[in-house]
Amino acid sequence: MTHAFSFLPAKRVSLSGTVTLTALLLATLCLPTHAAHASAAEEGTPGNTPVERGQYLTHASDCEVCHTAPGGMPYAGGRAFKIPGMGVVYSTNITADKQHGVGAWSDAEFVAAVKQGVSPGGKHLYPAMPYPAYSRLSDQDVRDIRAYLATLPTSASAAPKNNLRFPFSIRSLMIFWNIINGPTSAYPDDTSKSAQWNRGRWLVEGPGHCADCHSPRTLTFGLSSSKAFGGNTLNGWRIYNISSDPKSGIGGWTEAELAQYLSTGHADGHGTASGDMADVIGHSLRYLTPADIQAMVTYLRSTKPVSTPQDSVTFRNVANGDASLPQNSRGARLYASACAGCHLPDGTGRQSSFASIAGGRSLGADNGRNLIQVLVNGTGLQTATGVQIMPHFTGGGLSNRDLADIAAFVMTHFTTAQPHDLEKQVEQTVKERD
């Protein structure tokens, strides 16, 4: 046991020194397996039938994005999660197919998989599945999700086998990971806070599992609580700081802007969601009720501020409606010909509000990391009125140097960022392109 445990660098885990590992083990073994009492925060879930509630919760939990391969059948699994240094984990088929999906599982088995990360036969799931967050759902919530999934078409295909390096290929190691990092459980309402705040906390920390991307990880790949919502870097993208810090996080946004962003993927003066966040908006958040969006906003604005310089952007005052652009550099001329067609010289967007990049953090944050990702890979956002596409600009007429020059121009024209080594970053991003 000690031997197996040594695979996990436990040094940085922030545990109280008085708590011994033995006590922790015992505590874990005593974790309640029955449902904790549902909190008042859960009472806001709309729907008159289990299937209706389940559909809402399936959206709120964003099951589809991870459990669908690119271009594949929804919920049939097969999306790859590359974990640096460990290997590749594939999401599973959660359609009701009896052989390859979850159709043959009992309700109790389904609940245990979603909330405790243990699937039938005692098989431990990898925490790419955010079961520590989902453990905040009630058992009834999870059964409702299952009831909804059972109404959808089934897929008789199995997800590809995981390809993990030893020792990460040993699933039972997750027993130790769980001791350190997780599953929590349903938690009581904080009676000093409003019902709206409690509902928001539950949505953000439970089904929404926002911290899974937006919080940095500890050395054991648990979620950092000291820097909660302080941002992270995943798959080459910067996942921005969404703590209440006014400079690095979302503290400078108005409530209306946050609500507009979460429910549509765009907020005037803050740009448009791209990459994985566009998927989260398109497949999950845009289905939430205005009351729930408002609850999330209320909670997010109450989090502890975390300062992260790479997420802090100072914008230059680019005059609205100014049709002129400097034509004195390659980047400026390339922006005028390749970008201004949709985004306009002042960045306010020609085609629709979704094309407005003005005020977007990606214009200056983290040495252009996400800006370059969007240029190299493109991005798409599902909206109520069709898909909004930003095409990628690789493999056409623009070279890596052209893209780097465009990024440098955008960063210095719209923000005070001082970009460096952008061409190298473009090359790296192109190389990592699937």
Binding site: G321, A323, S324, L325, Q327, R333, A336, S337, A338, A340, G341, C342, P345, R350, Q351, S352, F354, T383, A384, T385, G386, V387, Q388, I389, P391
Partner: protein
């Protein structure tokens, strides 16, 4: 089935919300003045106005337009002084070579002069840089815009 307001007339069309506006204009309504060029909002040949603002119709889903007013090159009012000035400048300076991009160029030029009545070379270059011309009539376009601005002054 969205109803679109095109050149002052309502048009009900049976298309998906995803359909690009240019497809509706050209294939369904037969308004062929806006041209298909690149299909990715890079060349400007398909320029139309939505609420007076120049947009690329090839890349604009009709679902996003809603009931806002669409103006195609067919809908440019000859009586409008800016339109008149641009058209006569285009003729006076013999701007056009093959002509394919020119509906878009004229739309962009009119939009520019409406917001910037006396543009500098730099303002013309950046406002018009989203409109490609494979014949390379750029210098004549710039001169014609100055000419039209002079007529309007």
């Amino acid at each position: 089935m969205p109803t679109l307001m095109i050149n002052g007339q309502p048009h009900s069309v049976d298309v998906d919300a995803d359909t690009p506006l240019l497809w509706v204009l050209r294939d369904i309504l037969g308004l062929n003045a806006a041209k298909f060029g690149c299909g990715i909002a890079q060349c400007g040949a398909c320029t139309v106005y939505v609420d007076g603002k120049a947009v690329r119709a090839c890349n604009l889903p009709v679902g996003l337009v809603g009931t806002r007013a669409i103006t195609t090159p067919e809908g440019l009012e000859s009586a409008d002084p800016v339109v008149q000035a641009v058209k006569s400048a285009w003729v006076a300076l013999d701007v056009v070579q093959c002509g394919y991009c020119q509906p878009g160029q004229v739309m962009a030029a009119v939009a520019l002069l409406r917001t910037t009545p006396n543009p500098t070379d730099e303002q013309i270059d950046s406002a018009m840089s989203g409109n490609m011309c494979r014949c390379g009539t750029y210098m004549r376009i710039r001169a014609a815009i100055h000419h039209a601005a002079g007529e309007l002054a």
